[in-house]
């Protein structure tokens, strides 16, 4: 979504620290890391930490339970449990390390090779991995221990070898995804060799899943290691091991149940810590790829109270329309100050009309629509304003009464129709469910009206489409299906966010024609969000131009093309290649849309405006009425456009 553009405002170092920062925000992760660090350090420094020799027997004091001498008590031979745990941890953690190292050493390179090379290498490695995964690990390790008695290193290496295919598969699928990224193709065309590309472009991108797998495998390896130690298959019986201690405790469970507590708890906590760590890293990595910045950009803009005019489309003061948006503001919730991304936006939609909201990415047009529908993504919230549906405030009504309105009065279609369809069900069954939800009719009736709806959106073979799944539809068909879904509740208003942007121009023309026909037949109003002036010219009655979170101009459709009254609108229209001389330089607007949080204080367009004066950068600019049904947020409108308005 466009609002992600505000990442540009972040400091360079912030992002690299984000993963650690996010891990730090999760108390569980901090606890897990701390716990593992303490256990590891204690085991490494066992010589200094352990109060007793782990083999020192004191037959006077056996099975004591916790005392001041032995804080965790003693075992059947009077050995100090605390010291044995610490020394035993050395073996256990070393085993985990061995297992993880083998898994990574095998899984990562071969996974990379399979995913990157593809073709027969991939098929061969994948088949091989699947075969190994079918082999029962425990039995193979038992065989190894039979050949090499008490050799725990061999056991763990074998275990690692058998665990490697799982990592191989994870790395392979992560690599496959990265391989499709264009920068890999770009790297090839740059003349880079394959090993270079893998090392520098692929590997850094697959580390996330690898770390997760490694920590989960560590948990599994520890469980396994203590298991075979418990069975007494590895170390010398006298030598301390965690598994062995559990085994010993289990023999005296009737006499001293306490003995099971220290070793059991430690094993459980360590395994838990590995698991928690894996989960936390995965969560942090996912947010890192798609989330909002956790830190607010430094400069948050000045938003003083401003003199504003209502849009002025109903001079008699009465409102007979459907939707009235008043001073709607949306902000990004962040740890420091909230960053506004839509500010005091107002517009009206009358019954049956088509309003175009036009602007570039980062203008806040999509967010405005989502706020009206109360569908703001996580991290964004409505910071102020009202949205009236007839005379009810949508933003303050309860979730349940709004749910009744959504779908039946207001409907929504997005730029990516495929995403809104459930891939697991046929189009028909989803549509039937929707119709039954809205109208409470029988399944049979719903099924026939589903086919009617699909016919209504001009799908040439409705029966086939009803039986199809989302992935079988082309982009144009999927958008028609999405429109059919939206029509299921017979809405009075359809909000369409870039409904044709992803489509071919011929399909776009068809969809626009369809929307126009449906409006004519049902009297439905349409709010169309787009960046395409051709689409605006084609279907809209009025246009609302947005820039940097504000409405900068509203106007009837012919006027805005003939006599734009804001320098931004003018700049956009003259940048259109179809209006320019071929091969001439286009008149472009310098610079780029400022990101939320770095909006200029006064006129937000002033840094890019060729008409800007002193006044434009010092005073707050209101949206003022500049003609019947027209408003512009430009204080120089009279001077700049005088020739135009006069004529």
């Amino acid at each position: 979504m466009s609002i992600l553009g505000d990442q540009t405002a972040m400091e360079p170092t912030v992002r690299s620290l984000l993963l650690t920062a996010r891990l730090r925000q999760s108390p569980l992760a901090v606890a897990a890391i701390g716990f593992l660090a303490i256990v590891t350090l204690a085991c490494i420094g066992a010589l200094f930490v352990a109060p007793y020799d782990p083999l020192h027997q004191d037959l006077e004091r056996v099975l004591t339970g916790p005392t001041s001498h032995n804080i965790l008590g003693t075992d059947t031979l009077g050995r100090d449990v605390f010291s044995r745990l610490i020394y035993g941890g050395r073996r256990s953690l070393l085993s985990v390390l061995e297992g993880v190292a083998v898994v990574l050493a095998i899984g990562v390179p071969f996974g990379l090779a399979a995913g990157y090379a593809g073709g027969w290498a991939d098929r061969l490695l994948s088949k091989f991995a699947e075969t190994i995964m079918a082999v029962p690990a425990l039995i193979i390790v038992l065989v190894v221990l039979a050949v090499l008695p008490r050799n725990e290193d061999a056991a763990m290496v074998t275990f690692g070898l058998l665990g490697a295919p799982a990592v191989l598969r994870v790395v392979r699928s992560a690599t496959l995804r990265v391989r499709e990224d264009l920068y890999i193709a770009a790297a090839r065309v740059s003349g880079l060799t394959h090993p270079w590309i893998v090392a520098r472009h692929v590997l850094p991108r697959v580390w996330g899943p690898v770390i997760v797998q490694a920590s989960l495998f560590a948990a599994y390896a520890l469980l396994f290691e203590t298991g075979i130690a418990y069975l007494g298959l590895t170390a010398d019986p006298a030598a301390p091991t965690w598994g062995g201690m559990v085994g010993e405790a289990s023999t005296v469970i009737q006499r001293q149940a306490w003995l099971l507590v220290p070793s059991g708890t430690l094993i459980a906590l360590t395994i838990l810590a590995f698991g928690v760590l894996g989960d936390a890293i995965r969560d942090a990595a996912i947010v890192g790829e798609s989330g909002f910045p956790t830190r607010a950009p430094a400069n948050s803009s000045v938003t003083s109270a401003r003199r504003r005019v209502p849009n002025g489309h109903h001079p008699n003061g009465l409102f007979d329309g459907l939707l009235r948006v008043r001073n709607l503001s949306v902000s990004v919730a962040s740890s420091a100050t909230p960053v506004p991304i839509v500010e005091r936006v107002s517009f009206d939609v009358l019954a049956g009309e088509t309003v175009g909201i036009v602007g570039e990415s980062g203008s806040g047009k999509s967010v405005t629509a989502l706020a009206v529908l109360r569908l703001l993504p996580h991290g964004l919230y409505t910071a102020g304003g009202q949205v009236y549906w007839k005379d009810r405030d949508l933003l303050s009504m309860s979730e349940s009464s709004f749910a009744k309105l959504r779908g039946s009065s207001l409907a929504y279609i997005s730029q990516e129709p495929q995403v809104s369809l459930d891939p697991a069900f046929t189009v028909g069954s989803q549509l039937v469910e929707l119709i039954r939800h809205h109208h409470g009719v029988s399944r049979r009736l719903a099924r026939s009206s589903a086919v009617d709806l699909l016919q209504q959106v001009e799908l040439p073979d409705p029966d086939w489409v009803a039986r199809a799944h989302a992935h079988e539809l082309s982009g144009g068909m999927a958008q028609r299906v999405a429109i059919a879904f939206a029509l299921a509740g017979r809405p009075k208003l359809l909000i369409a966010d870039e409904p044709t942007t992803a489509l071919d121009v011929t399909v776009q023309a068809e969809i626009l024609g369809l929307l126009r026909r449906l409006q004519r037949e049902t009297g439905m109003a349409l709010v169309l969000i787009t960046h395409n002036w051709g689409v605006i010219a084609d279907i809209c009655d009025r246009a609302v131009v947005m820039y940097a979170g504000q409405v900068v101009e509203t106007s009837g459709i012919q006027d805005i093309f003939d006599r734009p009254l804001h320098p931004y609108t003018l700049g956009l229209l003259t940048a259109h290649p179809s209006l320019a001389e071929p091969r001439s330089r286009l008149s472009s607007i310098p610079g780029s849309v400022p990101t939320p949080g770095s909006w200029p204080a006064a006129c937000r367009f002033s840094p890019r405006c060729r008409f800007a004066t002193e006044e434009c950068v010092t005073t707050a600019i209101p949206l003022v009425e500049v003609g019947p049904g027209r408003a512009s947020r430009c204080i120089r409108v009279d001077q700049i456009f005088s020739k135009v308005t006069a004529g």
Binding site: G5, Q7, M10, R15, D181, L182, Y183, A185, A186, V189, S190, G191, L192, T193, H201, P204, G362, E458, L459, P460, D461, W464, A468, G476, V505, Q508, A509, E510, L512, G513, H531, W533, G534, V535, A537, D538, I557, F561, D562, R563, L570, G571, L573, T574, A575, P577, S578, L579, E581, P582, R583, R585, L586, I589, S592, R610, F611, T613, F641, V644
Partner: protein
């Protein structure tokens, strides 16, 4: 034009993919040339094969038959080492400025990679080249130390262009290079591309679905549909209303023009042109016109015989059995059109002079 060896020549190129048991002809007997210093447009909708053509030229996909010649040398099937050498001469800029830059590398590292890959060891020289190139694409030299996510879409596309130019190639393939950019940014990047072409004697293969942009940028245009060439010729002929192929005509008419009155008039014409395809996938036979199922002017011959390319207008060819008759059958008076009216006469917005 007659004696000059074309910089890039694509001759009867065919690329096929297997989709399960079906064979999809992504490119079917496609030929075109890019001359030194010119911009050739490759236009078509999704599935037309235009991006496959780019991949085939760069050796990123297998070619089934036909050949690709660069400056007279056959480069269709090259072993990796020689293929690599061609990348000094030929580069590409992709559509998506978000996935075409490695998010984990600084801009400087991304830009210096091509030089290092071709053995440049002098890190001072590399740094100078990077700084020069950033300047040429109008980015601050400090950009080298920053990461892709710190740049807007338009800036990233400049970076991608800079990377393509690092090796001073003679041909740059622009694969929908401005399609994902906002209008004001698109204009900036188009201007930059023209500027770079003038200063560096570059040739462009400009791949796009947007006829408006293609008309603005290109000298000549090739129109692809379902892997076949429908029409090719000078940009103004192909992308104007004088187009010789019904598909080109449809494409032209389907683009909504930013003028409500003109657009209202066009709509009627567009409506009759658009016959939605039947559901599922239609089987296209080799011995038919691929556009016949969508063509309002089709006749039995169109379903039974593959039209070959034949001369249509000066320097233009068309693959249509019904040319020129179909043009006479266009119903009604010709609607107003932004493409043919010279920009000066067009009802463009008033341009207030600067203060």
């Amino acid at each position: 034009m007659t004696q000059q060896i074309p910089l890039l020549a694509v001759r009867q190129l065919s690329v096929q993919y297997k989709r399960g048991k079906r064979i999809v002809k992504a490119l079917d007997d496609v030929s075109f040339e890019v001359l030194a210093g010119e911009t050739l447009g490759l236009v078509g909708e999704s599935g037309s094969g235009k991006s496959t053509a780019a991949k085939a030229i760069l050796g990123l996909t297998q070619v089934n038959s036909g050949s690709v010649l660069f400056a007279g040398t056959d480069i269709t099937h090259l072993p990796f080492k020689q293929r690599r050498e061609t990348y000094r001469e030929m580069q590409i800029v992709f559509q998506d400025p978000y996935s075409s830059l490695n998010p984990a590398r600084t801009i400087g590292s991304t830009l210096s990679e091509p030089l290092k890959a071709f053995g440049e060891r002098d890190s001072e020289a590399v740094r100078d080249r990077v700084r020069d190139m950033l300047e040429r694409v109008h980015l601050p030299s400090g950009a080298a130390d920053r990461y892709p996510w710190q740049f807007s879409g338009g800036q990233r596309q400049r970076i991608a262009i800079a990377r393509a130019l690092m090796l001073s190639p003679r041909l740059v393939i622009l694969d929908e290079a401005v399609s994902s950019l906002d209008l004001s940014i698109q204009a900036q990047v188009l201007n930059l591309l023209q500027e770079l072409q003038e200063t560096s004697a570059l040739s462009y293969l400009f791949i796009s679905h947007d006829l408006g942009v293609v008309r603005h940028m290109c000298d000549r245009v090739v129109v692809l549909y379902r892997g076949r060439v429908m029409e090719s010729g000078p940009a103004l002929s192909v992308s104007g209303r004088g187009s010789a192929h019904p598909y080109t005509y449809t494409l032209n008419e389907a683009v909504p023009v930013p003028n409500p009155n003109a657009q209202r008039a066009r709509r009627a014409a567009v409506r009759m042109l658009l016959t939605p395809l039947p559901g599922g996938t239609t089987k296209i036979r080799d011995e038919q016109c691929v556009f016949a199922p969508r063509c309002p002017w089709n006749q039995p011959k169109c379903w039974n015989e593959r039209p070959s390319l034949r001369p249509a207008y000066p320097n233009g060819v068309v693959a249509c059995h019904r040319y020129p008759e179909w043009r006479d059958e266009i119903a009604g008076p010709p609607p107003l059109d932004a493409h043919v009216i010279p920009a000066t006469e067009h009802a463009r917005p008033e341009f207030p002079r600067n203060k």
